[in-house]
């Protein structure tokens, strides 16, 4: 079976060709067709991005010219790398070393010189295959890290059901790929490989960052870091690869910040007045970087990516503070409902709220849907919570970015919803009331929760939003367990029938498996992150206003509008999770 797949594989490879030269476009198209590839052509880089965003998972590889009028090919390359994680082949007429080098640095998997020959194109499937192989390697070992970020989720209004959910069907997909590709390899082999894989957990990453800081950013080397970290089983290669990603990540952050500052005026804030927008922006920029450290990049603004969604409201303009009775009968607690949040999908689309879960019998407790993922660059591992000025509590949770597989666009459910909103990880819990519910929560997380004001209630909702998941808008909600072991396909169809993904209960017994190791593949899809917690004790709230760093300026708007709780807004100096992109 594996062999048959291997021979059939290059056939029908879906290629997107981007070149502003129509003649070349025509020639390349023909050449690729002759290679039995499925070709889409496009004359502008911006259009290419649009196509890629709208037709997610519809392409295997991108071939792009370097010199294009509307967007530098390298920039396109970067976008694709971050958002779609597709292999990109660059091409240009001249092969000056520095240009080729630039392409490679930006992540091009190959650099072709024009005139491009057909034999070169015939061979491009190798890049797709190679990437697939790497992905397979990456997911091996996921099983060992399920303890990483598992926290309980409570979902709104689903009192009758309590299900366990591990939102890792992407892993399932990949696992399937593994099966496909390594069908003849024995499974025990896989088990040994699993152990060798390193999962960059929060703690591990923190150790890494600490080591980097200790050594000094310009002097770091994998070996030094390895010695300092002193983690058994970690190899130089593991560290080297992580360091590379880390560097890329930092330089990206820097670049984006520059862009952001320069491009602030271009922001498109769909639901907010321009003045608010500017306020947010400026306050963001003024926010001192709590995480400033000894890096070369310390000057960069630390960024947060946030996506705060309220599934309860189809109209995002409503704001309502809610009295929330605890499910265990604990005193009612005020919860700020983070409505009025528009979220820009990282895919460049504005989230359609109609698609979101609208639970007709919803409980007020399900006020917030939060999705968050944040990395505090140099903050000690345990310091999940920081106290920025105004003493607002903050909790950094690690969201789960592995999500369910996206269905084909042809699928009736998703038709017309070309933008995949990020998954929303939420959690419903009362710290005061029932800490037991957090038995599965990672200590850090739990500590974070506890250290918030005692009266705090975090209400988070578990709704996964992706192409495949149209969270039930119908009142007769049915939910299937998205247990990690169920097959990819099953999930897919469940989702297609609107019957999955929202799992919840009084017991708040949803386990949402989050797992950083999965992030590399998934992050690109879900980049909006952030967390918003209300600190009741302080009678104010924290808002993490963030922008997706990766998306086009015009689509970077996530804002928060809160007439009633206009106390303060804070843009938290968090670091986004793109390190794992």
């Amino acid at each position: 079976m594996a062999l048959a797949d291997a021979t059939a594989f290059p056939y029908g490879l879906r290629v997107l060709v981007v070149d502003d030269d129509p003649t070349w476009l025509k020639i390349l198209e023909k050449m690729l067709r002759k290679c039995s590839y499925e070709v889409t052509t496009c004359g502008l880089a911006s259009v290419a991005l649009q196509i890629l965003r709208e037709r997610r998972n519809k392409f295997d590889i991108v071939i792009s010219d370097v010199n294009m009028p509307d967007m530098d090919g390298f920039k396109l390359l970067e976008h694709i790398g971050l958002e779609m994680d597709l292999p990109v082949i660059m091409m240009s007429i001249d092969g000056e070393t520095n240009r080729v080098m630039k392409g490679v640095q930006h992540g091009a998997c190959d650099y072709l010189l024009k005139p491009v020959r057909m034999k070169e194109l015939r061979n491009i499937w190798q890049h797709v295959y190679r990437k697939k192989m790497h992905e397979v390697k990456e997911i091996e070992g996921h099983d060992s890290c399920d303890d990483l970020q598992i926290f309980r989720n409570g979902c709104e209004g689903l009192d009758e059901r309590g299900l366990f959910m591990r939102a890792d069907s992407d892993t399932m997909r990949k696992r399937k790929d593994v099966d496909k590709d390594h069908a003849d390899q024995d499974s025990s082999d896989g088990a040994t490989v699993k152990k060798a894989r390193v999962v960059w957990s929060v703690d591990l990453h923190q150790k890494f960052v600490n080591a980097v800081n200790q050594i000094g950013f310009d002097k770091v080397g994998p070996k030094k870091i390895l010695d300092l970290m002193n983690v058994p089983g970690l190899t130089r290669e593991n560290v080297a690869s992580h360091l590379q990603k880390y560097r890329l990540y930092l330089s990206r952050l820097q670049k984006q910040n520059e862009e952001r500052i320069m491009g602030a005026g271009r922001q498109d804030f769909s639901h907010n007045g321009p003045s608010d927008n500017l306020n947010l922006r400026s306050s963001f920029q003024e926010q001192p970087s709590n995480l400033a450290n000894g890096f070369q990049h310390s000057s960069q603004k630390i960024q947060v990516q946030a996506n705060i969604l309220d599934p309860n409201l189809e109209d995002t303009k409503i704001v309502a503070p809610l009295k929330v009775p605890d499910k265990n009968g604990n005193p009612a607690i005020d919860v700020v409902d983070p409505q009025n949040v528009t979220s820009a999908s990282p895919l460049g689309g504005v989230l359609s709220f109609e698609r979101m879960a609208v639970n007709k019998d919803r409980k007020p407790t399900e006020a917030m849907i939060l999705e968050c993922q944040s990395w505090s660059g140099s903050v000690p591992p345990k310091q999940f919570m920081q106290y920025p000025k105004h003493n607002h509590a903050r909790c950094d949770l690690l969201g789960d970015y592995s999500c369910l597989p996206k269905p084909d666009l042809e699928h009736p459910i998703t038709q017309g919803h070309l933008y995949a909103p990020p998954p929303v990880i939420s959690m419903s819990c009362s710290v005061e009331g029932d800490v037991r519910d957090f038995s599965d929560v990672k200590p850090d997380l739990l500590g974070c929760m506890k250290s918030l004001s005692p009266a705090l209630t975090c209400t988070v909702d578990s709704a996964q939003l992706s192409d495949s998941v149209v969270t039930s808008t119908n009142s007769d909600q049915k939910f299937s367990s998205v247990e990690g072991l169920s097959s990819d396909k099953d999930c897919y169809f469940d989702l297609a029938r609107n019957q999955a993904t929202l799992v919840s209960s009084d017991e708040a017994s949803i386990i949402c498996g989050t797992d950083l190791a999965r992030l590399p593949d998934d992050l690109s899809d879900y980049q909006l992150q952030g967390v918003s917690f209300e600190n009741i004790g302080l009678n104010n709230f924290d808002l993490f206003q963030c922008n997706d760093t990766m998306i086009l300026p015009g689509l970077q708007n996530n804002w928060y509008d809160d007439p009633e709780f206009s106390s303060e807004m804070i843009e938290s100096p968090l670091v986004d999770g793109c390190l794992f992109a």
Binding site: D20, D21, P22, T23, W24, K26, I27, K30, M31, K34, D65, N67, S92, I93, D94, K114, P115, R117, M118
Partner: protein, 151 residues
Amino acid sequence: MDYSNLRRQAASMKKGLFDQGYLDEQFCQVEDLQDDASPNFTEEVVTLFFKDSARLISNIEQALEKYPKDFSRWDAYMQQLKGSCSSIGASRMKSECKSFRDYCGQGNTEGCMRSFQKVKREHGALRQKLEAYFQLVRQAGPAGAATRPSV
């Protein structure tokens, strides 16, 4: 006149274009792509090339006028044209584009202007020759384009 004769003429004409350096191997690559699915592929590509290169040339012309001594802009435009030339293997034109860019690098406005005039001449000459060639090919029938010149 029988078809084989026409074919021979077309072939020798093409050989002439190669010999005089108007075209290079890339042109054969394009011809090789022609198949039953697109029997006029080469001609379509060449037509597209002339259409687009005319646009690029007029862009350059405007840039030379509007932005005197803006060598980086000139260079960028010429780079586009050069890339376009490489698509059909318009070799002479391409090398003239290259010398234009060299003059840009030297900041030599005079050289650029002279070179640009040459580019335009090459463009016109190639167009004329290729038009004649395709006319012959059309007369000779579909097999005419398939023969590769023995260079």
